[in-house]
Symmetry: C2
Subunit: 296 residues, 2 copies
């Protein structure tokens, strides 16, 4: 698949998810309607829907029906978005712009931004618990995976470690731990939930999880590489901002060449993990190549 074809495929899948996000986050005509404006503003600020797309494809390769993961795919995107809103707050990263647009607290004020993040997190658990089908036990397990991966032993845990290590050098092990949690945990649960709801066997779920774990690391290393080698207009943010903010990065710890090697290594591991799916894994394998060689 050429880059252009992959881009089109990703855009198509993102549009599919966007239709459901639009319904789930329909603005209510009530006294608190500004909260819906704020939730929608950040959710529809140009996200690529990577986590929902991973989830849908993990579901598909296990033989599942993509429609069954829609609530989880949307919930995942709401959780990802809430984490960005709170990350951008003055007390956290203090970012005024994201993808070239004013961040939530710049647009709506800090109090509304805090609450819009909170409301998206609540909404995520609301949509996944609306389930009325027969496989309640499996869905309950998926809700639990969602909560664990977003919480103190997942994404939030990684954010804490990231904050605590800013401005001081950490070991490669700690950097890996940080990213396995901060960005890796929900990439992993996106894939594992897709496989679980898709009816995957234990072996298939394990394989998908191994794929996601390695993809998450490769993705993060590429992120760090782009911060040094990327093009500002393609990235939508200044190049070199990690170093300026004294963030710990793979490039900072290992240098550019070794980082590129490592990204390829993890990317290969991710693809190998999908071997048991044969041809069915084609899209996820090409997506891995696309993501770990991306320019923005």
């Amino acid at each position: 698949m050429k880059n252009k074809q992959m881009k089109d495929a990703l855009e198509e899948q993102a549009a599919f998810i966007d239709g459901y996000l639009d319904k789930y986050l329909a603005k209510k005509d009530n006294p608190q309607s500004v909260i819906y404006e704020a939730m929608r503003y950040s959710v529809f600020a140009g996200g690529k829907r990577l986590r929902p797309i991973l989830m849908m494809n993990a579901c598909k390769i296990c033989g599942g029906d993509v429609n069954e993961v829609i609530p989880f795919a949307c919930a995942m995107e709401m959780i990802h978005t809430y984490s960005l809103i709170h990350d951008d707050l003055p007390a956290m990263d203090n970012d005024d712009l994201r993808r070239g647009m004013p961040t939530s607290h710049i647009k709506f004020g800090e109090a509304t931004a805090v609450l819009a993040g909170d409301a998206l997190l609540n909404k995520a658990f609301e949509v996944v618990s609306e389930y009325s089908g027969d496989d309640t036990r499996r869905v309950m397990k998926a809700i639990n995976m969602l909560a664990v991966s977003s919480g103190a032993e997942g994404m939030i845990g990684g954010q804490i470690v990231d904050m605590e290590s800013e401005g001081r050098e950490i070991t490669l092990d700690m950097l890996r731990y940080l990213h396995l949690n901060k960005t890796g945990a929900i990439i992993r649960s996106a894939c594992a939930i897709g496989a679980l709801i898709g009816g995957g066997s234990d072996e298939q779920i394990k394989a998908v999880d191994e794929f996601a774990k390695n993809l998450g690391i490769a993705f993060q290393i590429q992120d760090d590489i782009l911060d040094v080698t990327g093009d500002e207009s393609e990235l939508g943010k200044p190049v070199g901002s990690d170093a300026e903010e004294k963030k710990n990065t793979y490039v900072g710890l290992l240098g550019l060449d070794k980082s590129k090697e490592l990204a390829e290594e993890y990317s290969d591991k991710a693809k190998e993990a999908l071997a048991l799916f044969g041809d069915k894994a084609e899209f996820l394998i090409e997506l891995t190549d696309y993501l770990t060689t991306r320019r923005s």
Copy 2:
């Protein structure tokens, strides 16, 4: 039941819940352990566990086993606590003290306070989705009620209306709407979830919900009354702070006498709603009297 007896009963029930909260929030020995410190600090800062107690007793009068609502009772308290942490933030109410102790952002810094609130909200959904019993469908419905009541159509909706109406006078209808959402929604869902998990019939669940709706309003009016007539040392906060912060209150809109009448009216309605439970409702009826005539 005398006040002293009621106080002892409430303390005993609170201690029962605290034991479980302590287990659910056990500090982990890992690089992000400060998040557990921050979560525990606010959860164990002297809360009275009113919502869990209401839930347990709503379960009991429907003939249910209190042990079955423990995860939900703890989740409810985590959600209540997260909302207080975020409410206290500089961008929101900017409170340095709560119950005489430094608030989370004063103690741990603003970034950790934001994340501790987020982590408690995640943890709430984690503990309720750990369920492995047979009544998965009922538990799923309860998770949904929890999410809805805490979200944009519940507590967060009320917080938004509260923020937007600060500094300008609102109608009594809007004040009621505000409180029905801000404090009322989770008091209601605490009771309704207790009745639901307790195996209550539709009629019983409806009665418990009607009780909770009226109790919530009576409780809020009493809160407003105490802000004017209360004793600073008993309240743990300055008297008259509502008026100073230009908050809309029942006392501000209706005066003290009319507010007292109204509190009694809603308190009566709450107690009447429990008629179908006969003697079994004794504790909840006495609790209603206790809460709506409380001094702090």
